[in-house]
């Protein structure tokens, strides 16, 4: 049984992002969640990422799953009658690197080193989310990333996700919105797109 908050393991890593495989099929953290992985150096390097994508696919590359439910009455029945399916499929998620912590100090920019493969990946606690959300400088990384998901969607999802741990959600959203209005000075349409997605 994995420790509390541990959701998976790094299976692909670079300076700007990492991919983790979930321990449980379909149990990826929600889009926009703050996750972390730890590089066990002498002074451990904690690396923070925002989940921007999740994929479930066949374990063996090239082998596509086939439709199996024609004679079953419900989706659950499929898994019940073919329990090996859970072993043949896997869920992975990708996180964009947005910060790190070393010597107890939190930085909202890229870590000096990428994570290692098999590094454990954790969902951040409420306290960590609150601490990370004290400054919005990381939004800039999200806005400028080139990802399969649009930056507006990702920013909005991240803010919605973070806001859940705040008592005064609308205060949090207004402050974040103001930061975005400044970051997106000349890009009114992007701003409008995000504001429309985070309106309390």
């Amino acid at each position: 049984m994995a420790e509390l908050g541990r959701v998976g393991e790094v299976i692909e890593a670079s300076t700007t992002e990492f991919v983790a495989q979930c321990y449980e099929l379909y149990q990826s953290p929600p889009l926009g969640s703050l996750v972390k992985t730890i590089l066990p150096l002498e002074e451990p390097l904690e690396m923070y990422g925002i989940v921007y994508n999740a994929v479930t696919s066949s374990l063996e590359p090239g082998r596509r799953p086939i439709a199996r439910g024609k004679d079953e009455t419900s989706e659950e029945e499929i898994y019940r009658s073919s329990p090996q399916l859970l072993k043949l499929l896997r869920t992975e998620f990708s996180a964009l690197m947005v910060g790190h912590r070393q010597n107890g100090k939190l930085y909202r920019y890229l870590p000096p080193k990428p994570p290692r493969i098999h590094g454990f990946v954790y969902l951040c606690s409420d306290d960590e989310v609150v601490e990370f959300g004290q400054s919005f400088s990381f939004l800039n990384i999200l806005l400028n990333a080139h990802l399969p998901v649009s930056a507006e969607e990702l920013v909005a999802a991240t803010l919605r996700q973070m806001s859940q741990v705040y008592d005064d959600r609308s205060r949090f959203m207004v402050t974040a919105g103001k930061e975005l209005a400044i970051l997106l000075g000349g890009e009114l349409n992007r701003l409008k797109a995000i504001l429309g997605r985070i309106k309390p």
Binding site: V174, G177, A181, I182, G185, L188, K192, L195, K199
Partner: protein
């Protein structure tokens, strides 16, 4: 260092010493709470700056925002955009530096020589800041009014003020007379100068009227010991139950040709007619006026005029003018008393003299008398000053002469020839200065305007008047917008020698029982209720 009471408004984003400073308002400060004429402090890195808001504007980061306005009915969007994508800007004219660190506030306010750095914080000026710059009633400083939305007392250094001639301007009904009364009380109380007031509408000596027919007390009622009322119209004074000190009569033989030149415009005299006056006075001497009026229609007269090469039509033009003067009831062939001497006697005892014109409010009487008396009184001061300098004795106590409708005496056509032009230009060479009151300052000679030390101006709406009042003042354009937005009464912009920087005041209240009490016992606040009641009774 900063008072926690002061409210932060925004940050400096741009600017120059000559054009002023741009301040980006914080999103927490609403443009609608700002007002031109208000004071701010700017916390520079090395020193604090003190300035005035002179303009307020709106800005957007992205012009698209104005083309496709966001849905501001949604409170979230509106709140996010306020202060970020849309923002308010203040334009601030920095005026003074008021000390850097906490220690060197002792220096007192200094004129600005630089601007605060980028992104310096801008705060609303606190009471203490304003007091540091203008405040503190003392033996010299007199409380004249309060800044907009503040209780602090703005004070004028009166002995400093009277070193130069000064002006009070504003269109009709804006509070010039009330302000003048207050200022005269100040001079009287601070002993800054003796005053001679040519009181055209009889409102300074004894009960003036306020709008709505309410009467207000004037100087003699409040300070009977220190004020003498002279009148040109005894009957009128009696009817108004004014306790007058002297009835002024002027003899024809006191009117000199120089007194007539100023009347050229009001009497419609031609240039040759004025020349004729000089010729006639050479011929007849002191009695030229009476002699001229007494000339019979005869061949002899014609001969004489021909001899002086005075044309018949010129003579007729002159006669019409002289008849107008002759009809002034306070004139007589020979005056039994010497008005100039009487006025000087009072002034020498430090008593202020108000000369009421009663019913004779037409401009001819006013110009004639003010000019005639001032010329002679000025000559006396000049003599005394020269004597004092030669003998190294005390110079005469400063004298301030108050005239209304000043453009009649100081317009470009006459200012170079009149005594008033001379006084204004000579500054205080002989310890005499002017307090000029006018609703049409553009009518006054520019050169005279530029000599005025301190100008106090109520609302003006004529562009030329505004230009003439502000001509040569640093920050003219900024002050223009402040001046044009004064309230229509009891507010004034003060700038010049007697204040460290231009200041907008709500003029001190005049006319209520409490206000009289305040003037009579300066410095004493909150006395017991009973005393107040007594005083109210007294002034009912």
């Amino acid at each position: 260092m900063t008072q926690q009471s002061s409210q932060r408004l925004g940050i400096v984003t741009d600017g120059s010493l000559t054009k002023g400073i741009e301040v980006r308002l914080d999103s927490s400060a609403s443009v609608e709470d700002m007002a031109v004429g208000r004071y701010v402090t700017i916390e520079g890195e090395k020193r604090r700056f003190f300035g005035m808001i002179t303009d307020i504007s709106l800005g957007v980061i992205d012009p698209k925002l104005t083309l496709t306005p966001p849905d501001v009915t949604d409170p979230f969007t509106a709140e996010v955009l306020a202060g970020t994508s849309t923002y308010g800007t203040l334009h601030i004219l920095p005026m003074l530096t008021i000390g850097g660190g906490a220690t060197d506030t002792i220096e007192g306010p200094q004129p600005v020589k630089t601007v605060p750095g980028h992104f310096s914080a801008v705060n609303q000026a606190s009471q203490q800041d304003v007091e540091l710059v203008f405040g503190g009633e003392d033996a010299r400083k007199f409380y004249i009014g309060t800044p907009l939305d503040m209780e602090t007392r703005i004070c004028l250094d009166l002995p400093e003020l009277v070193k130069r001639s000064n002006g009070i301007f504003g269109k009709s009904g804006t509070g010039k007379t009330f302000l003048t009364r207050i200022l005269l009380i100040g001079m009287l109380q601070k002993g800054a100068a003796a005053n001679l007031i040519f009181d055209m509408h009889s409102e300074y000596g004894w009960s003036g009227t306020s709008e709505g027919g309410r009467t207000v007390k004037a100087l003699k009622q409040l300070f009977p010991e220190q004020v003498a009322v002279f009148t040109l119209d005894e009957a009128n004074a009696k009817r108004r139950r004014v306790s007058t000190d002297f009835v002024v009569r002027i003899g024809y033989d006191e009117i000199e040709p120089e007194d007539m030149t100023l009347l050229r415009q009001t009497l419609n005299l031609t240039e040759p007619a004025v020349e004729a006056i000089y010729q006639l006075s050479r011929k007849f001497g002191r009695n030229w006026l009476q002699s001229t009026l007494g000339l019979p229609e005869s061949e002899e007269t014609e001969e004489m005029l021909k001899g002086l090469s005075i044309h018949e039509s010129t003579f007729q033009n002159l006669l019409r003018g002289l008849h107008t003067i002759e009809r002034l009831p306070f004139l007589m062939p020979h005056s039994p008393d010497n008005t100039v001497k009487r006025i000087l006697e009072y002034l020498d005892r430090g008593i202020n003299v108000v000369l009421e014109f009663g019913r004779y409010t037409d401009i001819t009487a006013y110009v004639l008398v003010a000019n005639l008396l001032t010329r002679r009184i000025y000559a006396q001061y000049r003599e005394r000053m020269e004597k004092a300098m030669a003998e190294d004795t005390a110079p005469p106590h400063p004298l301030v002469i108050t005239i209304e409708e000043a453009h009649r005496f100081l317009n470009p056509g006459v200012s170079s020839q009149t005594i008033f032009g001379t006084i204004a230009r000579e500054m205080r060479k002989y310890n005499v200065t002017l307090l000029v009151i006018d609703q049409r300052p553009s009518g006054i000679d520019d050169e005279v305007m530029s000599q005025l030390g301190t100008k106090i101006t109520c609302l003006l709406d004529n562009e030329r008047d505004i230009d003439s009042v502000l001509s040569g003042v640093p920050g003219k354009n900024e002050l223009k917008s402040v001046l044009a937005r004064l309230e229509s009464r009891q507010q004034a912009l003060i700038f010049g020698h007697a204040v460290p920087m231009p200041v907008v005041v709500r003029t001190r209240e005049y006319g209520s029982p409490e206000s009289y009490k305040d003037f009579l016992s300066p410095g004493q606040t909150d006395t017991k209720k009973q005393t107040q009641k007594d005083i109210e009774e007294l002034w009912k």
